[in-house]
Subunit: 336 residues, 2 copies
Amino acid sequence: MKTVRIALIGYGNVGKAFAEMLRRKEEYIRNTYHAKAVITAICTATRGGVIKPEGIDTQTLTDEMFDKGLDAFAVIESGEYDIMIELTPINIMTGQPATDHVRRALQLGKHVITANKGPVAWRYRELRDLAQEQGVGFCHEATVMDGTPVYNLTKETLKGCRITEVSGIFNATTNFILTEMEQGVSFEDAVEEGRRQGFVEADASMDIDGWDAAAKLTALMNVLMDVEITPLEIDRTGIGEITKADIDAARKQGKRIKLLCRGRVEDGKPVGVVRPTLVDEHTLPAIMDATSSYVTIDTDLMGATTVIEEPFEPEIDHTAYGVLSDVLRILSDFYK
Amino acid sequence: MKTVRIALIGYGNVGKAFAEMLRRKEEYIRNTYHAKAVITAICTATRGGVIKPEGIDTQTLTDEMFDKGLDAFAVIESGEYDIMIELTPINIMTGQPATDHVRRALQLGKHVITANKGPVAWRYRELRDLAQEQGVGFCHEATVMDGTPVYNLTKETLKGCRITEVSGIFNATTNFILTEMEQGVSFEDAVEEGRRQGFVEADASMDIDGWDAAAKLTALMNVLMDVEITPLEIDRTGIGEITKADIDAARKQGKRIKLLCRGRVEDGKPVGVVRPTLVDEHTLPAIMDATSSYVTIDTDLMGATTVIEEPFEPEIDHTAYGVLSDVLRILSDFYK
């Protein structure tokens, strides 16, 4: 029986849901991988960190157990873990500090999982190559469509295919707002409702202005098409200018407005577009209501494969599952 | 550099498309797996078989090179291969002779790939256990939705999830007929058009009566939900009784008629249903036109993940890719 030690850098809702899921699947992990996965380090934004090489029981974790002096880098440098999981809030415009967290853990020879898309949108190639040099895993399934398989799907089930295009609806918040507006709700009220339901951030501008979608498109293009592009280079239009009148006019033509993303390589250059687009009502993007999203992957050998994430309740669990599936991938690839 | 020898049991359009795809990806296979995959045995229904341990160049293969005396079992018994690929026509009511082909090759310690769903619908558990005992691979990705990942998706990207339900539109022929009928084409003309386009069999009854969909549902349930069920136990209704009037009446209510499949375990028993069903026009099954199909996989941890196969031209290549992806899986699992 091997023991695999996990450090959680960031411990909000996703971290807590992950810890619970890990407990729930303890027996499965033991039976399948002959391994025990234990959380040995946790770092929070405001309460400091806790390191317990023998394992932290997250069910009995109290504030008093945290050491205010332990910040993310101190926990990462401690080395008291085999897998570092990056769960800090994203800064889409810089990818930091998540990118530095990931880089440092990889340099220390640790496996890394990130649910934060910053490192994949900003420094994917460098980090991928570093992980390869170090002989460790670098996984990021939860960065697009939560736990719905996109990266693993391409890597594990579309083997041998060259990816020629990625497209879809990647941002749930804007899709929710557009769906609400079609029901007659105002833009502002839709944002407020999204906040009430917990999936719209206090500052919704990263979603509304298309930055979140652009970062996801960038991440997908970097990983699946082996290019180097950043969110700044995406041809990006958000939904801030869409009015009720636009939506009604679309409806009258039997169409809907959706924030579509598309990335491909043209004349050797990566080209990514995020843009509100008129779509026919009986098409896949049109029927994606509320917090649904999808990714279509076009290939040379297999035409197009599409994967859909259905509306979720709660989203947190899907993201936590994305992280768990990466843990299982690392167990499968490195501990069997 | 390892050499992996392949026997093709059945050599129709899919076998030929697979041989061509294998050539096309020769360099990829060499670079990724440090292996060379060569076809060393081919068996046809009417011309006999050919065995060449040094490899068959399928581009220069002529009728004279076939030995009339070599039938499928003679080729299988020869043992001049590492992977046997079962590509014979299916008998949905018995799963034979494909099941016997698969069993014998597994008994001989060979890896097996089947594009024929018979063995998976009729004897999955026995064959899976036999493969495990023998320490070989048994793959069947092409048996549902051609090369679109379903089995590999579940096994490789939904690790740790328990599958609670499988559902979707699994049969392209009936979906095509229903779509044509909505355009005003008669049932008979739709069948004829499908034949002309090459994806409807001379005897279309296996599709129309829901047997093909039932066999696919059975295969999915056996593999993904670890049950033992056969196509005979599926609660099955075909589309033979659907009239133009039914379709028009549905349309008037803003609905469409689709041949839906659903399988789950109820009170410990596998329950599978294939049935023409009224669906709302702005839902996923409703927008599946022509030869599109989809599978939705419900899980305990991740909610529902849906994968779509878009209309294909030609279908043959997608099926061939399903077989190729299984070859790559075997290379990855057993030859790395």
